[in-house]
């Protein structure tokens, strides 16, 4: 037995595909350990204020607006930056250049813009100009930065104010020779008279105390409170449970973001908040890069599980699994031990970022087993159609609509809480494990069932029927539609135009076997996704909305892989098809077009999901009028990337080579795109003024460019491909 298991381990260790997948997992693990060029907790990830359509924040912008007479269109102004740009430079007594506070005359500029909805305002000691600001009755967003005392009661006239951000500087500083007092908030209770105020952002550590939270708790219309203690020195927080008890009584409050520059800020505040106000959605206000889920958990486990699943599927597919004594049990034992190791590893990673034990194990198990189920399912797609599970197909959209609803409407608290609770996570994990067991069990018996499929019906009609190989109803109606097309159309249309010929090539693929595949894939994947939500909510590493692209990624990649695998299987028929009366060049062009058309729906799906995730991500908070543009961008990205990935699977014959190339492609995009953005953020002074914008533009275009280059290289390879070589 030991000897046999040793040889099985050798079979893992000597298979290039397994080595490639394991290597990728280790690489992602190492990538997760590389210190990122950003400080932990540097990025705020709470919803930002709605972006102004036309913002005046620089002298150049101001001049341009004045010149074009578009003052009516300006709906946002950043007085702080504008004053920095406009203020006369002085030399202070120590010989350094300095800027004094704006005088009343500066604030006359507000009179030029009658439709202001958003104002950023800084004050230095005496809040000059505030009278003009509070006279802007239409104002919806006000951001205050400044030194010293400020009476919030003066904002009572802003009856349309929806969002108030307060960031007071916590240093005593001499302004014009007068020592400013430490900041404190007064008049907070006066904000209760603002009927539309639903968001309050406090960025000052010293003002966050029980008294302030108690006053915040009395604001009747507040639905979101952000305690983002980012730009503060690290002093102990004085907040206790009493403050959060008061918040729990806030009538409309639903969402609470807590955190700051230091990880313990989140830990302390989230602990108090969860204890006192469990009904609230509690998220981290800062992105903690040390809790980067994709790198520390998802990606390594994903690749490790792929390696195990792929090896198990290939081993169980052979007749040896049924005929060699002890073969199946030994392979299953090794598979289970390796899977358990990956599950424990994943759970350990999760627990280090604050996920509780049961949820961590459930999430890890769901991830690993679902991937292994995919490996099993990939071997079953052509024949695995149990009717009972077919009906579960219709549960998939229902599950995803529920998940999506919980993203879009956090107010559906009972539903969202149920979907994201630890109990639900464990239940989902059980579903995922069950689906895996079913898939692997079916796979383990497949060798017997299909060893002599021609006589299967005669030997066991019931089993034959159960597998969906008898009768007419077991085929998906899409497939029947294709069959009807073949019967009715093809034989009567001798002269086809180019599009019709492309369509004819597509008829050779059972592309809509996607539904039975989805049964086996999407149910466990969906369950795995939901465990991730529970995990994210517990760890505070990400808001659920930021997981949306990741959740979309897995089933999407599976669908993409399925289309790729279908076309890869088509290569087997190509030697026969190649000899049909058309030129090699025409056939290759038409087949490539048919392939691209098969992938186009996926590109559109990708563009929809990405656009949705992009715009739902309130940290980005782009105006909705950008939707068409971002959709077009993601469509271009999807077309180039998806075509490149799909073509990799089809054109490169060795699977492990295509996987390594796929990794290179993704890594190139990550390094190219994200690297440029990080570089631009980290060193803006290195570039002349126009460069950062050019860099950002380039960073967005790079993935499309990489995809296009990959497509071109693969196209050249496709033209030279030896059709007669075995896949």
């Amino acid at each position: 037995m030991i000897n046999r298991i040793g040889w099985i381990v050798v079979s893992y260790a000597t298979r290039p595909l397994v080595l490639a997948l394991t290597g990728l997992g280790i690489l992602f693990l190492l990538l997760g350990m590389i210190p990122m060029p950003i400080r932990p907790n540097e990025w705020a990830i709470y919803p930002s204020a709605p972006q102004a359509r036309l913002m005046v924040d620089l002298k150049a912008t101001l001049d341009a607006v004045r010149k074009s007479g578009r003052q009516q269109e300006v709906d946002g102004i950043d007085l702080s930056r504008l004053w920095t740009d406009l203020a006369p430079r002085k030399i202070d007594p120590e010989g350094r250049p300095s800027i004094g506070p704006p005088d009343e005359a500066f604030y006359k500029i507000l009179d030029e813009f009658p439709n202001l909805r958003s104002v950023r305002y800084s004050y230095f000691g005496e809040p000059t100009g505030l009278d003009r600001i509070v006279s802007l009755a239409q104002l919806e967003t006000l951001s205050l930065d400044g030194f010293g005392f400020f009476d919030l009661a003066r904002l009572r006239s802003l009856q349309n104010l929806r969002r108030l951000e307060i960031g007071l500087f916590e240093i005593q500083k001499s302004v014009n020779g007068v020592l400013q007092p430490l900041p404190k908030l007064e008049g907070l209770d006066a904000l209760a008279s603002l009927p539309k105020l639903d968001t309050l952002v406090l960025r000052t550590r010293s003002v966050v105390n029980d008294a302030v939270l108690t006053e915040v708790g009395s604001l009747p219309h507040l639905s979101m409170l952000v305690l983002d203690l980012a730009d503060s020195p690290h002093t102990p927080l004085s907040t206790t449970e009493a403050g959060f008890d008061a918040l729990a009584r806030a009538p409309e409050l639903q969402t609470l973001y807590v955190g700051g520059r230091f990880p313990e800020d989140y830990t302390q505040l989230a602990f108090l908040a969860k204890a006192s106000a469990p009904r609230l959605w509690i998220f981290s206000s800062r992105h903690d890069s040390t809790k980067s889920i994709p790198f520390t958990f998802l990606m390594p486990c994903f690749w490790f599980a792929m390696a195990i699943g792929g090896q198990l599927a290939s081993q169980f597919l052979g007749s040896g699994s049924r005929l060699i004594p002890g073969f199946a049990s030994s392979h299953a034992l090794v598979g289970v031990v390796l899977s358990a190791g990956v599950i424990v590893f994943g759970a350990d990673r999760l627990m280090t970022i604050g996920v509780s034990g049961p949820v961590a194990i459930a999430a890890s198990a769901a991830q690993v087993t679902s991937i292994i189920a995919i490996g099993a399912a990939s071997a079953l797609t052509r024949t695995f159609r149990p009717r009972g599970i077919q009906r579960l197909t219709w549960m998939i959209p229902v599950v995803f609509v529920c998940v999506l609803a919980s993203f879009v409407f956090p107010a559906w608290d009972p539903l969202a809480s149920a979907l994201h609770s630890p109990i639900a996570a464990v239940a989902y994990a059980l579903v995922a494990c069950g689906a895996t067991v079913l898939a692997v069990w079916t796979l383990a018996h497949r060798a017997e069932w299909f060893s002599d499929s021609s006589s299967l019906e005669r030997r066991n009609p019931m089993r034959y029927e159960w597998l969906g190989m008898g009768g007419g109803s077991r085929w998906m109606f899409f497939t029947n539609r294709r069959e009807r097309h073949i019967e009715a159309g093809l034989s009567t249309t001798p002269n086809l135009n180019w599009w019709q010929r492309v369509g004819r090539w597509r008829l050779g693929n059972p592309s809509l076997e996607i539904l039975p595949l989805a049964l086996v894939i999407l149910v466990p994947i969906g369950a795995a996704a939901l465990t991730m939500l529970a995990m994210a909510r517990q760890s505070g590493a990400s808001r659920p909305i930021s997981l949306f692209p990741m959740l979309s990624f897995m089933p999407f990649m599976m669908l993409l892989g399925h289309v790729g695998a279908t076309w890869r299987a088509r290569l087997l028929v190509l030697p026969l098809e190649f000899l049909r009366p058309c030129s090699r060049q025409a056939m290759q062009r038409e087949l490539a077009a048919a392939f691209a058309l098969d992938l186009l729906p996926l590109a559109i799906l990708f563009a929809i999901l990405a656009t949705l995730g992009f715009h739902l991500n309130t940290s980005i908070n782009l105006p909705w009028r950008w939707v068409p543009l971002s959709f077009l961008y993601f469509l271009a990205l999807g077309c180039s990337g998806i075509l490149a990935v799909g073509a990799l699977v089809v054109v490169v014959r060795r699977l492990w080579v295509s996987i390594v190339l796929l990794f290179v492609f993704v890594l190139a995009n990550m390094l190219g795109g994200a690297g440029l953005v990080l570089f631009e953020r980290g060193a803006p002074d290195l570039f002349p003024g126009f460069m950062p914008t050019a860099l950002i533009f380039a960073s967005f275009c790079l993935p499309i460019l990489f995809g296009a280059i990959f497509c071109w290289v693969l196209w050249r390879r496709w033209l030279r491909i030896e059709i007669g070589r075995r896949v």
């Binding site: 052509r382 024949t383 002599d452 499929s453 021609s454 006589s455 299967l456 019906e457 190989m469 497939t479 069959e483 073949i486 019967e487 093809l490 034989s491 249309t493 001798p494 004819r504 008829l507 050779g508 059972p510 076997e513 087997l572 028929v573 030697p575 026969l576 190649f578 000899l579 049909r580 009366p581 058309c582 030129s583 090699r584 025409a586 030279r720 030896e722 059709i723 007669g724 070589r725």
Partner: protein, 298 residues
């Protein structure tokens, strides 16, 4: 009477093909005239399938050239392809389709598809038209592939071990159909096989591929006339290193010896009788025996 020169349908010159560092075809030369039915024989791994795939443009040769119907193999014109039929060694078809859909789908590519002929062939070979391809046995799959290859009544048939998985009845039916198709001399066929009895029934020519080259190519009857087995017997023992000049293989057992000779001439027989004082009897070989002798390394 003027000699009628048959058109060369398949023309291969110095064709080479390597798989990595492993040379499979080392300079194949072959000219197949119109109307010939050529059986391609060779040991396992000798490159029969590789040669066929290179001929059809499914693989790229590394050197030399090959033409089929006057077209470069790597760039066969649609017209040339319309005159070609091919059955691969391992048949892959659209697993999800029913057989009749596969036939209809394939027929849609050919302007001259003979539906009546296809139906007749399908009926003759009991092709299960309503079965799905994925439920067919290997032999049934091969039968379907043959129907698909013959449906447009091709002028040139290239068959890579087409009957390896067929039962004896189906094999005979197939050979009969092949004879019917090629009987008038206008159709040409190249087929590889290990079943020499089939080849003897239908082939007009034989090509033997050995060590990456065509070791022998001629009409079948000529081959049988040339390759013979000599049985020698004398009163004294033959020396241990006895060998018949030009023999493929000589086996000595005391005063008896067996030799396979590729080219038996009356002069050779006279020389053996006189030099060794031996009784020399000439025996005919069937194709299988010839193949064994030609590939024997003893």
């Amino acid at each position: 009477m003027a000699e009628i020169i048959a058109e060369i349908i398949i023309d291969v010159e110095h064709l080479t093909k390597n798989y990595g560092a492993n040379p499979v075809l080392k300079g194949v030369n072959l000219k197949i005239p119109q109307g010939a039915v050529v059986g391609l024989m060779g040991m396992n791994g000798s490159g029969k399938s590789t040669l066929i795939k290179c001929l059809l443009g499914l693989l790229h040769g590394d050197g030399g050239r090959a033409t089929v119907l006057g077209c470069d193999s790597q760039n066969l014109s649609p017209a040339a392809k319309g005159r070609l039929g091919y059955v691969p060694q391992v048949v892959y078809l659209y697993a999800w389709m029913k057989v009749r859909h596969v036939i209809a789908y394939t027929a849609s590519f050919y302007p001259n598809w003979d539906h009546a002929w296809t139906s007749e062939l399908a009926a003759r070979w009991r092709v299960p038209l309503d079965a799905r391809v994925q439920t067919l046995s290997t032999g049934q799959l091969q039968t379907v592939a043959i129907v698909l290859a013959l449906g447009h009544r091709p002028e040139v048939l290239v068959l890579d071990e087409p009957v390896a998985s067929l039962d004896p009845v189906a094999r005979r039916d197939f050979l009969k159909s092949l004879l019917e198709m090629t009987g008038q001399g206008s159709r040409t066929a190249l087929f590889s096989t290990h079943i020499s009895s089939d080849l003897e029934r239908v082939a007009t020519h034989v090509a033997i591929l050995s060590d990456g080259r065509i070791a022998y190519f001629s009409e079948l009857d000529e081959l049988k006339d040339r390759v013979k087995r000599l049985r020698l017997r004398r009163s004294a023992a033959f020396p241990a290193d006895f060998a018949v000049p030009g023999s493929l293989r000589t086996k000595v057992e005391g005063s008896s010896a067996l030799a396979a000779v590729a080219h038996v001439t009356p002069e050779l027989l006279d020389e053996l009788r006189q030099r060794w004082q031996a009784d020399v009897r000439v025996e005919d070989l069937n194709l299988e025996e010839i193949f064994v002798e030609l590939n024997s390394h003893d």
